[in-house]
Structures are given as C-alpha cells and as structure tokens.
Symmetry: C2
C-alpha cells in the first residue's frame, strides 16, 4: 500500500482583524492608521453590500466562527488544516475576505485608483511583517507571500523582495492591473524580475481586480465581472512572455491563482498561432525574433496555476493545461473554496485519476515550486492525508 497523499493548498488566505495591524505599521503611519481604520471598515462594508450577498457570507460562516479565527490564529489554523487533510499551504492576504484586509488599500486586488502609493506600501509592509512572523510559527507547512506593489517604485520593490526572502517568505504578490502605470513589458521592471529570479521568489497574480468602472451599476454588471476577471488576472502573463521577460530570466517563476484553468489550452493556441502566423508577420514586420520559444513553451516552463477547487472538467483536460503546472488549492477561509469539505470535492474532481497525476496536482508540483521540505512534512501527511487507493475508482474517467 502506498503512502497517503501530501496535499499542499496553493491558495489560502490569512490576515489580522484590521485594528491589530496597527502594531505592524511603521510608527510614522500610525496616526494616519487610526484615522483611516474606521473609514476603511465602513467603505469595505459598503463595497461588500454592493458586491456580495451579505446573507450568504453570514449564513456560510455560521457554526464556523471558531475555525475561521484560523485566519490569524496559528494553532487554530493548524487544527483546521489538519481536519481538512491539508499539510502545506501558500498564504495570500485577505483572510476572512472583507474582514481581514491589510491597511491602506494593500489587499489582494491592489487597486491603483483612489489610493496613496506611500500608504499602500506602508499597508503592504505591515502585512508582510505579520505574515512572516505567522509563517515562522509553522515554517515547514506555511509558504507566505509578501505584498509588493511594484508599480510605484522598482527600488522599493527590490528591497522588499530581499527583505521578504531574508524573513522566510517564499514569493510575492504583484498587482494584476497597472492602471495608468507602466505595463509589465516595460524595461524599468527588469530589477524586479532579477530580484525574484535571484532570490527564487515566486511571483503571484491572484484573481480579484478588474476594471470595475467599466461594469458600473447597470444590469449585467456582475456577469461581466465574473466573465472577464480571469482575463484581467492572466493578462500580465502575456506581457511577460511577449516582452521577453521569461527569455531573459530563465529561472523566473509565476503563479496565477484562483483564476481557473479552463482558458489555458485555448489561450496557448491563440498566442502560439499569433507567434507563428506568417501572413501577419509580413505586414507587421518582425515581432518575435527576440523570443527563442513559442508562448506555450514559456508558459509551461514558467507559469503555474493555483487551481482552487479545480472542477472535474479541468482535471480531465489536465494534459492540455499542463499536469506539471497545476496546483490544487482550497481557498480557506473563503466561502467559494472547498474548505471544510475538501475531501468531498477532491473525490468529485479526482476519482479515477492515475496516482502519479494526483500526487503532482495535489501537492508535488507546489512542493517543488515553493521548496517545501517534503521529508519534514511526511509524518504530518501520513497522519492527515488521504489514501490514494480511495481515488482508485472503477468509474471510467470522463
């Protein structure tokens, strides 16, 4: 009988109750923090009412109050993940969605409008200090990410990446939208890419941001948002590929998280087609000789998919998506995630899938990408992980 499966969730969230970020904010920003805190809480409440069905969150959270404190309580988090069968995790900000946002607009979606860059930096650093401490409480199972709003200062970004590495974090979250700032094929970002490459820090895009002012308040707003948001989250990938960033930085790695995988095969076909299309080339001139590989090759070597709650259709299509690129995620403690029913969702999606693929997608790929110490995690996985035999189904894969 083979060992239980090591599950690493590539998409988890943690954050402090907002008032508790105060101690982590640079002293010079604490006065502003005190003024901004009630405003932030009020604004987030308004935005959530417009954007989310409040009752749903309230309902979903009922009876889970204790376990949700794992968003910032280390011991509780370990218990919760154990019960969910998850040994390791990659930790993004925004714990209990709207209830644990970092200060000053430094949350997951890193807005570029209506914020003060200096303050966003201050909020990001506050979160980074806390998440570094938090990960040190269980370093073998927690890969924390630093929030790095690279748009505002390349120099500050490089410093923060180095600080994050020195403090045990494993990657950085960058904005997926640049607003009116420079897009990611701009040469000015070279030092950021080099810093990530040199330190082995994985860059991350996480779904969330989209051009909300385009959707506005009219009928169809939410359908448009959920239909487009993945495109906006993935857009930087193409700027990095076409801009030659992966060509120049062969060790640079990027994960795109909670953005589904269904679009990957078609997107790669499109970009490879554009790369190879002779008719356009003639009219438009040489636009690809700076790239030694096809877009799909860069993608499969450099881009990883934080596949939160991956549906069965995507599992079935895993070869075209890239078995080595897929990393399961639970999205704890978000209501759209698989927690606390991860085991049930895993079976729905993965029953009948060959064990090697299963191990890669559920933990192996993430372990390799983030450098988890699988030997140290083995006893934990042996205790809490699912048995691979449980996925061996007589049902034909479909």
């Amino acid at each position: 009988m083979s060992d239980p499966i090591l599950i690493i969730s590539s998409d988890c969230h943690a954050g402090l109750p907002p008032e508790r970020y105060r101690d982590y904010v640079d002293p010079e920003y604490r006065e502003i923090f005190d003024v901004a805190l009630p405003i932030q809480i009020e604004e987030v409440k308004k935005a959530s009412k417009k954007f989310l069905v409040e009752d749903f969150n309230v309902e979903w959270r009922k009876g889970h109050e204790q376990q949700l404190t794992g968003a910032w309580d280390s011991d509780m988090r370990n218990q919760v993940l154990d019960a969910d069968g998850v040994a390791g995790e990659v930790i993004f900000p925004d714990g209990i969605t709207e209830m644990n946002l970092p200060p000053f607009g430094a949350g997951l979606s890193l807005p570029t409008e209506g914020i003060d860059p200096k303050l966003q930096w201050a909020g990001a650093r506050a979160h980074n200090r806390w998440i570094a401490e938090f990960c040190q409480m269980a370093p073998e199972r927690r890969a924390g990410l630093a929030i790095v709003p690279i748009l505002w200062s390349v120099e500050e970004a490089v410093k923060e990446i180095e600080w994050a590495r020195e403090n045990g974090l494993r990657g950085i979250l960058i904005p997926s939208m640049w607003g009116s700032q420079d897009p990611y094929h701009h040469p000015k970002y070279e030092p950021v890419w080099s810093a990530c490459e040199d330190t082995g820090m994985v860059m991350h895009l996480h779904s969330g941001a989209a051009p909300m002012s385009d959707y506005d308040d009219h009928q169809g707003m939410m359908g448009l948002y959920i239909s487009e948001v993945v495109w906006w989250s993935a857009r930087p990938i193409w700027f990095l590929i076409w801009g030659g960033v992966f060509e120049r930085h062969p060790k640079l790695r990027l994960a795109i998280t909670e953005s589904t995988c269904v679009w990957v095969p078609e997107a790669l076909t499109l970009h490879d087609f554009r790369y190879s299309e002779a008719h356009y080339q003639a009219k438009l001139g040489d636009y690809q000789s700076h790239l030694s590989k096809k877009p799909s090759e860069y993608f499969h070597e450099h881009v990883f998919l934080g596949a939160s709650c991956m549906p069965r259709t995507e599992v079935v299509d895993r070869e075209r998506i890239g078995i080595g690129n897929i990393m399961w995620g639970t999205d704890y403690p978000h209501p759209e995630g698989s927690w606390p029913e991860t085991s049930k969702q895993l079976h729905e999606s993965f029953d009948g899938i060959p064990e090697a693929d299963l191990r890669a997608m559920l933990g192996g790929n993430a372990a390799a990408l983030y450098g988890f110490d699988t030997e140290k995690l083995a006893p934990l996985a042996a205790r809490i992980g699912p048995n691979p035999a449980a996925f061996a189904s007589t049902t034909k894969e479909s």
Copy 2:
C-alpha cells in the same frame, strides 16, 4: 450539375483618396478640412511607419495599382470582384488601408482619444454620404455600412441610422472601444439598439482598435497587439449579452468582422459556465435572471462572424463556431486578405466540405443577414462563381 456558388464577401473596404472627401464634408467644416488634410496625411504616414512594414505594402501593391483604384472606382471594383469570383460584398471604410481614411479620425478604429467628437461625426457623415452614392452604382451587389460613433450622442446616432437606412445602407459600424465613455450595457444606448432593430440595420464591430498606450514602444508590443486585438473587438458582444440588450431586442443583429473565429467555442463555454455556475451565484447573488437564455444562445441568434480569409482549422471547427453564423470575407483591398487569390484560399480552406455548408458560409448566411436579392445576383454568380463540384475532394476532411 448544381449552380455555381454565390460568394458574398462580408469584409471589403472602400474609401476616397483623402482630398476627395472634401465635397462630402458639411460646408461648415470645409475650412477645417483644408487645414487638417495635410496633417492627417503626415500623421497617418508616421503611424504606418511605426506600425506596418512599409516595404511590404509597397511590394504587395506593385502591379496591382490599377485594380486597387477599385477602392473608390465603381467600374474597376466590379471588374476586380468579378475576377475574384465575388458577387456581393459588405463595405467597411478604410479602402487601401492608410491611403483612403475618412476625415477627422472617423476611420475603422474610431479612436476616442485625441479627437474632437463633432469633427469625428463630420468625418463619418462625409464618408456615409459618399458610400451611399457608391453603393447605389451597384445596389444589388453592395451592402454599404455607415460609420456611426454612437459614443458621443445617442440622438445624433439615431438620426444617422435612419438617414443611412433611407439612403440604402445596410448596417452601421460602431466603435469597439468606448475609452472613458459609457460602455454598451448602459441604458442610455437603448434608442440606438431600437433604431437598428426597427430599421433592420446590422451593427458591426471590426477589428483594429486596442489600447495602444498599454503596448507602448517596448519589445513585445506588436505580439501583444495581435494577440489581444480580437478580445477587444469582441468585448462589446459580452456587454450586449449580459446587459440584456439582445433579450430586449430580439431582432437586433451584430456582426464582428476580421476577428477570426477560433475563440468562439471557448468564449461561449466560458460565458455559459459563468451563467450557470451555482457556487458563484450563491456568493454574488442573482446576476442572470434578467436573461432568459444562455449567452451562447444569444450569440448564435444575434451575432455573425465576418470570417475574413477563414483558415481551414476554423472551417473544420464550424459546428462549434456556428455554421449559420459564419460569413466568408476577402478583405479586398487589404494586403492581409485573400484577394487576388481568393480561389486558391477557398480551396485550401474548404475542399471536401459538404455543399450546403459551403453555400451557407460563402454567401448564403450573408445574403440572409443583409437582405441581398439572390435572384437578381443569380446571373452574376452563374458567370463568376466557382462550381461546387470543384470543392468535392476525395481528401478526407481534416
């Protein structure tokens, strides 16, 4: 033996040499026209140098100088289309690409930045007057489109649509990007959609516009442009679908032209998935009960594809794209089009395809959508159209 095939090109272009638009511009704008003309010519030259490989255009046009005057010369155009086997055509602006642009930034891509809305309207009206005259010289074979920059004034747009219909035009070209103006799910556009529905005018999006300032002058610029431009051209479709515009206007029809078809199946899967996805619904509330149908159903009933130079891979995938939605186009007189080798390209793409599908995609769908008089066109098609037997190949469809 069955009749030769009626070919209607859903994507052709016509325009005057820029100085000759003067007579069609409202008298009050002629003074400005005289000042603007040399500036426009100079700017277009600069932009073309940056954007296109000039040598390629020059080379491609060599030996075709006479036939290219069909961009504005009615008799020459008839000869050229006859020789290409094309009986009917849908006519967009921008004849010989950069050499026949309407005045005042009223060309195909309808920019929203750096233009004066009043002048763009004046330029559009000048072109509309001319194209209406031009189509009247061969009304049975020419379906002309009016340029209608609906962003600037709904009232003016409705008037222009009615004028265009009264003057024999068959559809309108609208901007595919709205810049900082209101997107197409905004209720303010209702009178525009109603006017098109009431007059039977087909709305058109044509590839070209994209957020150029995002691509800028860095390495990868052109690869990003050609990889993204189709997404930007198609984007309004989703705003119309999710905004309930097709729900409220069951007779409204839209064509998206020279934007390939390869993306259609995957895009429909994505939007249908978003429409039906229960997990998101719970968190985000009711975002689709105003739609009685799935996005793919609206698409297949309301959206047509101006499939310029359709490659074989798309022909093979025609069922998923929608056989009834595909309309072949030659893109005459643009260098990326099939002219003057339409016959060769048709065989490459369509050999071995069943005759009914062939007839629908090459002409039948367009005839029905634009109301071409196929009886009147029959003698012409009999003289110049290809024989369907020539496409009956023993090669297996692949």
